[in-house]
């Protein structure tokens, strides 16, 4: 199947291979929105399967779903709310990191907002676990800081 190396028409599809070996198809116009993919296409050509080492079969379909909607200009607040509704915090994090790796800006922005929304009113311990941060404060240092910023701690439910 002879492919042209020139810029793709809107109906062209690109093959993507995830880090765990599965292959997915996306439209070329959707691929354009993921700068990492586009760069690989520019280097390797658009008729070979693009390898994505850091993205896996669990999250890529969801990302493809988002950009399918994006190229038709149909992304609404309702769609975005639906999109993340059934995802837990960790699943969103994985998607977010994948969006970062793919340099998919729109999704990245949306998910960073969603993560921020989810972390609101979560306890400090929860946020530490989420970001993988080790607490290196002494108990005295920590309580001093908390006191200084007491206004920001009101109304938060702390973990037991």
């Amino acid at each position: 199947m002879a492919q042209e190396a020139s810029s793709s028409t809107s109906s062209k599809t690109i093959s993507l291979k995830t880090g765990d070996g599965e292959i997915f198809e996306i439209e070329a116009s959707a691929a354009k929105q993921m700068k990492t993919v586009q760069r690989l296409i520019d280097d390797l050509g658009d008729d070979i399967t693009i390898p994505l080492h850091n993205v896996f079969s669990k999250e890529l379909p969801k990302i493809i779903e988002y950009y399918k909607k994006d190229i038709t200009g149909e992304i609404t607040k309702d769609f975005e709310a639906e999109f993340v509704k059934d995802l837990n915090d960790d699943e969103v994090k994985v998607l977010f990191l994948a969006a970062n790796y793919l340099d998919a800006n729109k999704l990245f922005e949306f998910l960073s907002q969603n993560i921020a929304d989810r972390l609101e009113s979560k306890s400090v311990e929860y946020v530490r676990k989420y970001f993988g941060v080790e607490n290196d404060f002494t108990p005295e240092e920590e309580s001093k800081l908390r006191e200084e910023r007491a206004w920001s701690f009101r109304g938060i439910k702390e973990d037991e």
Binding site: G19, H53, N54, F56, K58, D90, E91, K93, V94, L97, N100, F108, E109, S112, Q113, I115, A116, D117, L119, E120, S121, V124, V127, R128, K129, Y130, F131, G132, V133, E134, N135, D136, F137, E142, L145, R146, R149, W151, S152, F153, R154, G155, I156
Partner: protein, 449 residues
């Protein structure tokens, strides 16, 4: 480390780190993005996560103080609340470093009663100017008696791209040369002289969006803004004129009433003068006060140059004033690409012109040169007087691609109104007329042959 790992984290990665440390190992810009989306309260709390995180939030680009910020102190005594709220802003500004993109301070609907808010805000503004502030949003209503004057240094801040103010006195110094980078200006209930406002507008070369709400001391204003795309004026009637505003795409003129009808010239119509300035207009909102102003002079049946870009039209019409009806009809006939029409029927307290008992339908409701292209129509507040019914009849008769018309009656509606509406002839076979009365029943176009 004994931390429970979820299914999704049990994956070998070829990155530098393994889950769950992936995020904290990544470049700062990722953490910064998330931090920038956190409400200020949450951002400040991240200081406590670890010593590395203590000052990560210090460089967030936007500082927004609103309901989310005050949720914990909101229930306290007003003076205590105010004092605590102002201290929070001071605390954040003290720790924050680097440029500030947006500063927003909202009074959250509570009246500020202490006078210290005036000095505090002035101090914040001075501080923000030194941080290359781009968007200054002060949604604070300050009592008249405090005479809150915006500090003079504000007028030399050339980083500003957006200014939104809810109250205060604006008195630009004579040395004021304009805001080079200002795109958006929103002034609510500001005290400013006509001269100062006109100068302010005309000296902002790239101004695109101007909103003037409740500037009721002004009686006249000339708007010179060659790049203006969006203009909204709401409040008491103002005799305004455009100079060089040909880029306007969105215009809202919602005047409560009209004070002086000094422009009542017998020959040329205000409508003609008005529309000549708006070749690109896409979205138009007009109150009945302004419609009456447009109707002064002889109202043409149709404008010589149609508004070919107009897609959305909102009008408040006092249907017992024939002039307003004529002006509305003229606009409709001159908008060949209109998609959506919204109308609110207003009933003024004073009787203007008595509705003529009989008039010639053809004379007033003559058909448009091309069919009206509107697809969605919303009409609210009608009571069933003749002009209202004829207007609706006109719309149904000449809108060949109408999809949906929703009619919501006002109080004191004649009960026969619904039956009369349904009977009107429709040019569009698929038109649905929905009557949102007390018992909302839909009468679809298909039900009636």
């Amino acid at each position: 480390m004994g931390r429970k790992q979820t299914k999704s984290t049990r994956r070998k990665l070829t990155g530098a780190c393994t889950e769950p440390d992936r995020i904290s190992c990544l470049p700062g810009h990722i953490i910064d993005r998330i931090l920038s989306h956190l409400p200020i309260k949450e951002a400040v709390r991240t200081s406590v996560l670890s010593s590395k995180w203590m000052n990560k939030w210090y460089t967030i680009p936007n500082l927004v103080f609103d309901r989310k910020c005050i949720s914990a102190i909101a229930s306290e005594d007003p003076l205590v609340f105010e004092s605590k709220y102002l201290k929070i802003v001071d605390h954040v500004l003290l720790l924050h470093t680097g440029p500030i993109n947006m500063f927003k301070f909202s009074d959250c609907g509570r009246d500020f009663i202490s006078e210290s808010v005036v000095t505090d805000i002035a101090r914040w503004i001075r501080h923000l100017i030194g941080r290359s502030i781009k968007e200054l949003v002060l949604e604070v209503v300050i009592e008249e008696r405090y005479k809150f004057k915006l500090p003079r240094c504000l007028f030399s801040c050339q980083s500003l791209q957006r200014i939104k103010l809810y109250s205060g006195w604006l008195k630009p110094p004579t040395t004021f040369k304009g805001f080079r980078n200002l795109k958006i200006l929103e002034l609510y209930h500001i005290t400013i002289t006509q001269n100062a406002l006109e100068n302010l507008i005309s000296s902002c070369p790239i101004l695109e969006h101007l909103t003037l709400i409740g500037l009721d001391d002004l009686t006249e204003i000339k708007i010179h803004a060659p790049n203006l795309k969006i203009l909204g004026i709401l409040g008491e009637f103002v005799d305004f004129s455009f100079e060089n505003t040909f880029q306007l795409t969105e215009l809202s003129l919602l005047f409560h009433s009209q004070r002086n009808q000094s422009r009542l010239s017998g020959c040329s119509s205000n409508l003609l003068k008005f529309s000549a300035h708006l070749p690109h207009i896409q979205h138009l909102d007009i109150s009945s006060g302004f419609l009456k102003y447009l109707a002064a002079g002889v109202v043409p049946v149709m404008l010589p140059t149609p508004c070919i870009n107009l897609r959305f039209l909102f009008m408040c019409i006092r249907f017992n004033d024939m002039n307003e009806v004529l002006a509305a009809l003229c606009l409709l006939r001159s908008s060949p690409n209109l998609q959506k029409l919204e109308i609110i029927a207003e009933h003024g307290k004073q009787t203007i012109l008595p509705t003529p008992d009989s008039y010639c339908w053809e004379e007033i409701f003559s058909g448009p040169a091309v069919p009206i292209s509107v697809r969605h129509v919303n009409i609210e507040g009608i009571s069933g007087i003749k002009f209202e019914l004829d207007f609706i009849r006109f719309l149904l008769m000449y809108s060949s691609v109408l999809e949906k018309m929703i009619v919501k009656p006002g109080l004191n509606v004649r009960p026969e109104l619904m039956t009369e509406l349904i009977r009107f002839k429709r040019a569009s076979g698929q038109a649905e007329v929905i009557y949102n009365g007390e018992d909302s029943v839909n009468y679809g176009g298909e039900d009636f042959p």
